[in-house]
């Protein structure tokens, strides 16, 4: 066993850290917040592309950096720690790009991949529907052949960045009579296509990140299908060798914990620093322990991938652990801030610029998005422990 990084890896971390320290400043965060783009920045995405870090995980022949899994892990950890915005590229780099590399035709690869690696196009994901959340395979959006086109009708929801995206990768049913998983196809859709309308869904932080997307007779050229017709479900399940550790969550939590530790040291309540209160000490220490356990659980995923092993349940465990952890951290942070906790940025009394209040509210979405905690536990139980599946009607 060896829990250390090589000298070369440490040098890389220092380089990334120095860049992010310079770019992801308090002023930068403030500017994004004022623009309503907390999680999103096209400029930042482009800067990462210029550094050669955006597609560092991709194979070199597709414009990637061919980075090792350990380098990817380090990069993600630093991005998470700095709370850097990834909304401008997450979909393109982590999801559609890798799917294109595996399932795309040569033409599709030529057409779409360079724009993704350059950080020039923003993708959104058209998967979830009002009646297809955790049970995604029950999706009803329909695509019907019409000459050289498919005509798509239906509704998508929770579509993050749909109002900013240039393209959408979307699942639609192409064979309503086939078994659920075998009648779905994968489409690449220009968001400027006639028939697409985007309606904002404002989240509980009053932020406009996701949307409802309505598709009304949207005509998509046949060459924009990714993979074979009716094989879209399986295309969507592509797990490529990009890093799936979930390290950004405990790394971001570590940063917030450090801020809370500083706050507790500097803030007096009832005449004594909060840091001397045994309950506060206990709570912060508990979070430090949880974050370290989370870091190990995440490292394991990356290490397995580094070894060429395919994580079975380990990535689900990391996602489950991390998203549950930031809920506890948000909660504990608010308790420590007391009456000041609910104050939002903009108020001169708001501690840590309202960051904890945001993190606390934001954490509620983590255990729902990208597979709820319950779904993660089902995966851990059935794949990790081989417990029998629940019979489905």
């Amino acid at each position: 066993m060896d829990f250390s990084f090589t000298e070369e890896e440490e040098r890389f971390r220092a380089e990334v850290r120095a860049f992010l320290d310079q770019e992801v400043t308090e002023e930068f965060h403030q500017e994004l917040e004022e623009r309503g783009e907390t999680e999103f920045s096209r400029e930042f995405t482009k800067k990462l592309a210029q550094k050669g870090w955006l597609a560092m995980a991709w194979p070199k022949e597709y414009g990637g950096g061919g980075a090792t899994m350990m380098e990817q892990l380090i990069f993600s950890e630093e991005i998470g720690y700095h709370h850097a915005p990834t909304g401008g590229h997450r979909q393109g780099i982590n999801l559609i790009g890798p799917c294109l590399i595996v399932h795309g035709t040569e033409e599709q690869k030529r057409e779409y991949l360079p724009a993704i690696t350059a950080g020039e196009v923003v993708w959104c994901q058209g998967f979830s529907e009002p009646n297809a959340g955790s049970d995604l395979a029950s999706l009803q959006c329909r695509a019907v052949e019409d000459g050289d086109y498919y005509v798509i009708d239906g509704q998508k929801t929770w579509t993050t960045n749909a109002h900013r995206a240039d393209w959408c990768h979307l699942l639609a049913r192409t064979d309503p009579d086939a078994p659920r998983h075998r009648g779905i196809s994968y489409f690449l859709i220009d968001m400027k296509s006639p028939g697409i309308s985007v309606r904002p869904l404002i989240n509980m932080l009053a932020s406009h990140d996701f949307n409802e997307v309505f598709l009304d007779g949207v005509r998509v050229p046949k060459e924009n299908i990714l993979g074979e017709k009716n094989r879209g479900w399986y295309v969507s399940q592509t797990t490529l060798s990009f890093e799936r550790s979930g390290i950004a969550i405990p790394a971001g939590a570590k940063r917030n914990l450090e801020l809370l530790v500083e706050y507790a040291k500097e803030t007096k309540r009832n005449g004594a620093p909060l840091a001397q209160d045994p309950i506060v000490r206990h709570k912060l220490a508990e979070m430090a322990v949880d974050i370290e356990v989370n870091r190990m659980i995440a490292y394991r995923v990356a290490w397995m991938q580094h070894q060429g092993l395919i994580p079975v349940y380990e990535a689900s465990m990391s996602k489950l652990f991390g998203t549950e952890l930031i809920k506890r951290l948000g909660d504990i942070g608010m308790q420590i801030l007391g009456l000041f906790g609910p104050l939002e940025r903009g108020s001169r009394w708001a501690p840590l610029r309202g960051r904890i209040a945001r993190a606390c509210q934001f954490s509620l979405g983590g255990t729902i998005a990208m597979g709820s905690s319950e779904i993660m536990k089902n995966i851990i139980a059935t794949r990790g422990l081989e417990l029998p599946r629940e019979p489905r009607p």
Binding site: V289, E292, V293, A381, L387
Partner: protein, 377 residues
Amino acid sequence: MDLGFSEEQEMLRTTARDFLDNECPKSLVKEMAEDEKGYTTELWKEMAELGWMGLTIPEEYDGMGMTFLDLVILLEEMGRACLPGPFFSTVVLGGYTILEAGSEEQKKELLPKISAGDLILTLALTEPSGSYEPDAITVKATPKNGEYVISGTKLFVPDANVADYLICVARTKEGASPEDGITLFLVDAKGPGITTTLLKTIAGDKQCEVVFEDVKVPKGNILGELDKGWGVVEKVLAKATVALCAQMVGGAQAALEMSVNYAKERVQFGRPIGSFQAIQHYCANMLTDVDGSKFITYEAAWKISEGLPATMEVSMAKAWVSEAYRRVTLLGHQIHGGIGFCMDHDMPLYFKRSKAAEPTFGDADFHREMVAKQLGL
């Protein structure tokens, strides 16, 4: 980074598991819980022949010269098997204290005997205050006629009933700080003035009260420097804490496997209870706790093995594993239903051990306070 074990380490695990499956069935564990001595000489000798007692003792003292991380693997398997007996006391508490503090002469005298399985040791540290802090050391050692005379009561001393020597942590001076003035003495456990009483515990482990009444100890039996013993205790405690975590990890893994197997077999409402989401989610929680316990323990063990500072990691491991083991055994009992509540079942072995291990070397609250200090709070 390498989060896997080497081939040799995997082999050590397999050997240990096979051996303990055969030689340490749960029937023996239960028998030994009732037994006055708490272990069998046969099993002890066989373990010595496998080289286990000298696993991390350097080769020059007839040991195998392996690392602390290797020992952690062995301890995990012992925790899984609920191995009874004075292995932990002798090898971890005794062996590492001698390695850390003993003179060359003492090492040459004692370590080969430990390796051979000819010596049983333990550490007499805690007292009726039940604290691991240096100010809790009140048992006095007073110089008299060229030797020391020890008086006072040690409590929760593991395996003192079968030990050949006790390493007694005694106060030789009221120093400027509580750490100052503590000295380690190697004391003949059967010598005059020592009264050892076995405590009745829920886990059937052999914890003792040891009363010292004017026990005479030659000067030459001091381990390490006079008055400077606390530093040694801290180093040994760090190893012992992680070693205990390893045993707990093994126990938690066993409780998890037992519960998952039961959930696959037990049928209610016409299907295995493991197909119900409530049970699946319990099992997922258990696996998460067990996996987390493993890596937080391995990280601390690796740091110790490499000689790196590990104060934070040791405390994080014990804080986490203490509670995780408890959560795992509690959920395991819930999954087993009524049958797990029976004396004859194996589940209570793990629950009881989790309760015994929780406060040992400091509970989760104690170690969270350590973490708080490390965080700069």
